[in-house]
């Protein structure tokens, strides 16, 4: 096994969160509840903006709708933190889980897409109101975002079915 991952797993198993997640019977469902609320915030709000970029929901002004994006970011932060509690709680179930690794890939894809969007495309749609059509470049960003976040959710839900030791997998080993 990869020494870096071995170290990471040993370190996670030594954290306070690890003990909390395993010793309190309600810690796991509480974290999951937060994770699903964050999912609704992140996916719901971002999907609306993506759909608007793609040409749906045209009656919503694009610029005004963008003001809700910080709430999607809040959902992302909630999920990053609640997600970490799962990882710390059962690191062995996640690190070599193919579904978890593909989930991280989708998250990376969504991250690159959003960075490219704000650096190169956002300026084109920033001032757009209702009824206006986003240019092709923005539509592509919307489609990629929608696909990546859907992939993140699907992989997240499939995690349970690809647990080590039955499944033990990584790109580098």
């Amino acid at each position: 096994m990869d020494p870096v991952l071995e170290f990471l797993e040993a370190w996670l198993k030594d954290t306070y969160i690890h003990h909390l997640m395993n010793e309190n019977q309600w810690a796991w469902p509480v974290s999951e509840s937060l994770h699903f609320m964050g999912l609704s915030l992140l996916f719901g709000i971002v999907a609306l903006y993506d759909l608007r970029l793609l040409g749906f929901l045209k009656r919503l002004p694009m610029d005004a709708l963008h003001r809700l994006i910080p709430w999607g970011v809040l959902g992302y932060c909630i999920n990053l933190m609640s997600g970490m509690t799962f990882l710390a709680g059962r690191p062995d179930q996640y690190i070599h889980n193919p579904s978890f690794q593909i989930k991280l890939l989708f998250m990376t894809g969504a991250g690159i897409n959003v960075a490219v969007f704000y650096l190169m495309t956002y300026g084109l749609v920033k001032e757009m109101g209702s009824g206006m059509e986003a240019p092709v470049r923005a539509r592509i960003a919307g489609a990629v975002s929608l696909a990546c976040w859907t992939g993140v959710i699907v992989c997240g839900r499939l995690l349970t079915f690809f647990r080590p030791p039955a499944f033990y997998w990584c790109f580098w080993c």
Partner: protein, 156 residues
């Protein structure tokens, strides 16, 4: 037949795909409803209240995806859900959230001028209620997996 397939099929298209769809439908329904509630509470004030019904198709798709996937999950493990009081609490919370969304929209449709005008505090209260009901429904849904007494009718 359908029940056995959902429960026992090894295919990723059975149980795993259905719970994945249930999460995506939730994201669409609850997320779009959160967007409506946030606007009513005064965030993103430049979205006219009168166009918020544009969110309804998204919410409707989310609702039916989840009604269908939820029904399949219920068929797969009927005893697990039906013997857990939390299941009925979840359904009640969802019903209350849907009634709140409907009421908010009915009240808003009447108001002509909508940009920048403060929303009635009664309506804001309803939006807060809607957020609380969805949050509670999610908690109930997650705790269902941890609080059941019987997984199948054979255990009764």
């Amino acid at each position: 037949m359908l029940s056995v397939w959902v429960r026992e099929s090894e295919s990723l298209l059975a149980f795993p795909a259905i719970i994945a769809l249930h999460a995506i439908g939730m994201g669409l329904l609850v997320g779009a409803n959160i967007a409506m509630d946030l606007r009513v509470l005064g965030f993103a004030p430049r979205i006219p209240l009168s166009v918020l019904d544009a969110l309804f198709p998204v919410m409707t798709i989310g609702f039916w995806v989840n009604a269908a996937s939820g029904l399949l999950l219920l068929l797969a493990y009927p005893a697990k859900a039906l013997t857990n009081p939390l299941f009925y609490a979840k359904l009640t919370l969802i019903a209350l959230a849907l009634v709140a969304a409907r009421t908010i929209w009915k009240r808003m449709r009447g108001s002509r001028e909508t940009v920048g005008k403060p929303v009635a505090s009664k309506l804001k209260l309803l939006a807060g209620f809607s957020l609380a009901m969805w949050g509670a429904a999610i908690v109930a849904g997650r705790f269902l997996a941890y609080t059941y007494t019987y997984l199948s009718a054979y255990d009764l």
